[in-house]
């Protein structure tokens, strides 16, 4: 598979993982933990997981540029793209868990 295709697939998988984490987190919050402290902890774990998975995507799928300038540009574009997609998917996740579990 070409580099671009592999990167796109990884970003799609990363986006979907946000939805999966949100649904599992909501289910755990309502069925298992049921406390404000665990809810806060779960939110932090989800934030960390989203960032770590994005870093993994960058490490495995973004091509290495020969010079530093291009490397910085690749990183900046990647970060901006992932932040835009990430915030959008968090909003989608909020709608999804509201529909599935109520408020």
């Amino acid at each position: 598979m070409k580099t671009g295709g592999r990167l796109a697939l990884a970003v799609v998988a990363w986006s979907l993982s946000i939805l999966v984490m949100a649904v599992i987190g909501s289910w755990l919050d309502r069925s298992v933990f049921r406390s404000v402290e665990s809810q806060t902890a779960m939110a932090h774990v989800m934030e960390a997981a989203i960032v770590l998975l994005a870093a993994l995507v960058y490490w495995r799928c973004v091509p290495r540029a020969p010079d530093l300038g291009r490397r910085v540009i690749y990183l900046a574009v990647f970060v901006m793209l992932m932040m835009a997609i990430g915030y959008f998917m968090i909003d989608v996740a909020i709608v999804l868990v509201t529909l599935l579990f109520g408020l």
């Binding site: 919050d29 989800m46 909020i94």
Partner: protein, 181 residues
């Protein structure tokens, strides 16, 4: 012995109390990347005779058919409190009525609410602190329920959180118990 001293006396003389509970909407996802998470508000009526009654508005999913997806419905349940509450605000009883009458009116209006009629909306961009004009959510429902009984919407502000919808109560005709659809 004073009647207040024993439990039967307390039960006979204790008036219902009213508290607004706030939980983070759609948590834990609702907390991520949001400096001021939105609260979902529930009304708790604590009555020595009837126990705990919890009232709030909820969006529908598919429980009333796909045509009624994402509409506002009354949600009433008893004898259990909401979990993961981050804010509790005591609600005063209007001077024009007794606590018992206030409780009865709230429950009556909530039951009379025309569920599955008004569309449920999210705030603008989901993280907005106010609803678009003419759009309502669960906070709009509860604000309107209180307004329909009290004549005004009580203050509900919690530092660090926002309550979109509280500023725009639903039209009060939804609580008249008439089929309007």
């Amino acid at each position: 012995m004073a009647t207040q001293a024993n439990s039967v006396g307390r039960a006979q003389h204790s008036a219902p109390t009213f508290t607004l509970f706030g939980r983070i909407a759609a948590a834990p996802a609702g907390k991520i990347g949001k400096p001021h998470p939105s609260l979902h508000i529930s009304l708790i009526i604590d009555d020595a005779y009837t126990g705990l009654t919890v009232i709030d508005g909820q969006p529908t999913f598919g429980e009333a058919g796909l045509r009624n997806i994402l509409r506002i419905r009354t949600n009433i349940y008893a004898d259990s409190l909401p979990d993961t509450v981050v804010a509790k605000v005591a609600l005063g009883v209007p001077s024009s009525m007794s606590p018992e009458t206030f409780a009865q009116e709230l429950v009556k209006r909530a039951i009379n609410f025309s569920s599955y009629v008004s569309p449920y909306s999210f705030p603008p961009k989901l993280s907005g602190d106010r609803m678009n004009p003419g759009e309502y959510n669960s906070s709009s429902y509860l604000a309107a329920l209180l307004k329909s009984v009290m004549g005004y919407v009580p203050e509900f502000r919690v530092a660090g959180f926002q309550t979109p919808g509280w500023e725009s109560p639903m039209p009060l005709h939804f609580f008249k118990g008439e089929a309007i659809r």
